[in-house]
């Protein structure tokens, strides 16, 4: 989804406005030495962002009517590609939600398998690659680098420790 430059400018103005509003609420220091409080620098950045956004919005305004607010790119009209992108995003979300409870050694091959099948096909090979990759990453991070990847529900997997 590609926004028109004027819309991007407007979004920048809104973000800048939000930052400016937030910064105004930061504690202010009244002593002479610390006259510039924690909101001072964010306010400057927000004002620059607002100014840049306004210039972008107005400088491209003339082409807004012709080009439209949003341009839908071809991949968004291809269900398969939309599914691919959604699968990538969802797989990370699933990992975040499930890894602690279920365990790395179950969630990782599952999401890897689904992604490989969706993007590449060949389920049998996808299964082999998913299992082998999970094992390799697990060995490298847990055994070599001592990263405590979540074990989850299956105590059996403790054998690999």
């Amino acid at each position: 989804m590609r926004f028109h430059d004027s819309v991007i400018g407007l979004i920048a103005v809104m973000i800048g406005g939000f930052v400016l509003y937030q910064a105004s609420a930061f504690q202010n220091f009244q002593s002479h030495q610390l006259a510039y409080g924690p909101g001072f620098f964010p306010s400057i950045v927000a004002m620059v962002l607002i100014a840049a956004g306004l210039v972008l919005t107005f400088s491209r305004l003339s082409s807004l009517r012709r080009a439209g607010w949003i341009e839908i790119e071809p991949w968004l009209r291809t269900p398969r590609l939309v599914l691919n992108a959604a699968a990538v995003l969802l797989s990370v979300v699933v990992y975040i939600l499930a890894a602690d409870a279920v365990g790395f050694l179950i969630v990782a091959p599952a999401i890897l398998f689904v992604l490989l099948v969706l993007l590449w096909g060949r389920p049998a090979w996808a299964l082999v690659i998913a299992l082998a990759t999970t094992f390799a990453i697990h060995q490298f991070f847990v055994v070599v680098l001592l990263v405590p990847l979540p074990w989850g529900i299956v105590p059996f997997f403790n054998l690999f420790r």
Partner: protein, 500 residues
């Protein structure tokens, strides 16, 4: 001389050489596969380097990036697809040589002149940075503030090609950098009540998100077709290279110098160095009409420049803590993680690491010759690995890497969030490198600005009273004001003037 020999000895130890070899193969693979870049390879290496000693950690990054920038030429020669953006400038030229039956000469030139460029970059780094560091010891917070501003301005204006969008990207990076506890007053900012956000976004997950997840999302939304390799058999690649070096020694030197200078310019990296060097090579060539038809001269110019730029980019990164390109932006994050705060005093506090780093540059570029040969010989096999298989594997690596930095799922959330932000920005033509540079430099700019303001009791003119700081300040302000002046001047004249 002694510290350099000691450093060389340190780098040649198995504890450094093995990680360097592994990182080299990793870099060659990442460079050779179109869509995987040197920056992405660096971002993926950080979670691993997090657990290592400084010299092996930095050597791994140096080796991986040098190899990746060279390996990007391989699919350029064989498939007409640049493996990394740094090879894009001369992909057509290299492919035209392959079509003419000169694949060996093209690949060999890419390898040999990449190594020469890399070694020149290393020499420039070893010579220029200690000298600059001595000078930089006199700097106060005002000079650092202006240097960082100049760096960010270069990134937003020069490197992005779209100054306004570059500026927006820059401001977003500064805002992301402000999330967390304010370093001067200790006030939580933009944390929205989250205790995890109090410590800030975390540079590593953010970088992994922006450079790796963004690319994975992008590749998920395109049809990745199969590719046909142009050359059937690749013979001896080193044949004829000596002749090229003798004939084009001036081009080699010019490419090297351009590479180092552009590399050292914040925001502009190997890709821009290659474009500029190729264009200059063509401009001063005795046979400019041959450019684009499969002529090795452009390859020499640009191939040397992009690898020399890597060394050049480290100069401001080590001496001032201001990254020269997106790779060194990540490196600065690694330096901070290792407690080696970049700046001139790093030469006094950790000379072993700094000289080790110089030695690693030399060793990596020498290693490039045999390993690059191996990469070219196995190009057919490397290029036949489907990207559809690689992307999910890289995603899992990103997830685990982002987790490993803080042992918490918060890192994965930041990675995902920044990946989505980077993807949306890229789709809308907002350049990513100003945001990353701002994310790295944000805390430093604010700290230097606030301490200078407090030191001078709020007198803003104090920023212009010191000789070096004042000059840098005037220069920076001029760059800020120039577009406005040109805009006003450009509106005044005459019909038929240039379209601004």
């Amino acid at each position: 001389m002694e510290p350099i020999l000691n450093a060389l000895w340190l780098v040649l130890q198995p504890s450094t050489m093995w990680p360097m070899l592994v990182a080299s193969l990793f870099g060659l693979f990442f460079g050779a596969i179109p869509g995987l870049t040197a920056t992405m390879a660096t971002a993926l290496l950080i979670p691993v380097t997090f657990f290592m000693e400084p010299v092996p950690a930095l050597s791994m990054i140096i080796a991986a990036t040098a190899m990746a920038i060279f390996a990007g030429d391989v699919p350029g020669c064989l498939l007409r697809i640049p493996g990394t953006p740094a090879s894009a400038a001369y992909t057509d030229e290299a492919y035209a040589m392959t079509r003419k039956g000169n694949a060996e000469l093209a690949l060999g030139a890419c390898l040999v002149f990449s190594a020469i460029g890399g070694i020149f970059g290393a020499m420039a780094l070893a010579v220029a940075s200690p000298a600059l560091a001595e000078f930089a010891l006199m700097f106060s917070s005002i000079e650092y503030f202006w240097l960082a501003c100049l760096g960010l301005t270069c990134a937003a204006v020069v490197a992005s090609g779209a100054p306004l969008k570059g500026l927006i990207s820059l401001c977003l990076g500064l805002i992301f950098a402000m999330i967390g506890t304010d370093g001067i007053h200790g006030q939580p900012r933009f944390t929205f009540g989250s205790t995890e956000l109090m410590g800030g976004l975390g540079l590593v997950p953010a970088l992994v998100g922006v450079y790796a997840v963004t690319e994975i999302l992008r590749s998920a939304t395109v049809h990745l077709g199969t590719t046909q390799i142009a050359a059937q058999k690749i013979g001896s690649i080193f044949k004829g290279q000596w002749g090229l070096l003798r004939k084009y020694w001036l081009n080699t030197m010019r490419g090297n110098v351009i590479g180092v200078l552009i590399g050292a310019l914040p925001g502009a990296g190997a890709d821009i160095a290659a474009w500029v060097s190729y264009a200059i090579g063509r401009r001063f060539s005795k046979e400019p009409e041959k450019f684009g038809t499969g002529h090795p001269e452009g390859l020499v110019d640009a191939g040397a420049a992009n690898n020399a730029a890597l060394g050049g980019a480290w100069i401001p990164a080590i001496v001032f803590g201001i990254p020269g390109d997106s790779i060194t932006a990540i490196v600065i994050g690694v330096l901070y993680m290792k407690g080696l705060n970049p700046g001139p005093t790093v030469f006094i506090r950790s000379p072993d690491v700094v000289y080790g780093l110089f030695a690693a540059f030399f060793v990596a570029n020498l290693l490039m010759l045999p390993l690059g040969w191996l990469c070219i010989k196995s190009a057919r096999r490397i290029l036949s690995v489907p990207r559809e298989v690689l992307m999910p594997i890289i995603l899992l690596f990103c997830i685990v890497g982002s987790f490993a930095i803080g042992n918490s799922t918060f890192g994965i959330m930041v990675m995902l969030g920044m990946g989505i932000v980077g993807w949306i920005m890229e789709e809308n033509g907002l350049p990513l490198s100003p945001m990353i540079l701002a994310l790295v430099l944000g805390p430093m700019i604010e700290e230097k600005f606030m301490t200078s303001m407090q030191k001078e009791f709020g007198n803003f003119f104090a920023f212009f009273t010191r000789p070096v700081g004042g000059t840098l300040g005037v220069l920076t302000v001029l760059i800020w004001v120039a577009p406005l002046v040109f805009y006003v001047l450009g509106r005044r004249p005459v019909r038929g003037g240039a379209d601004v």
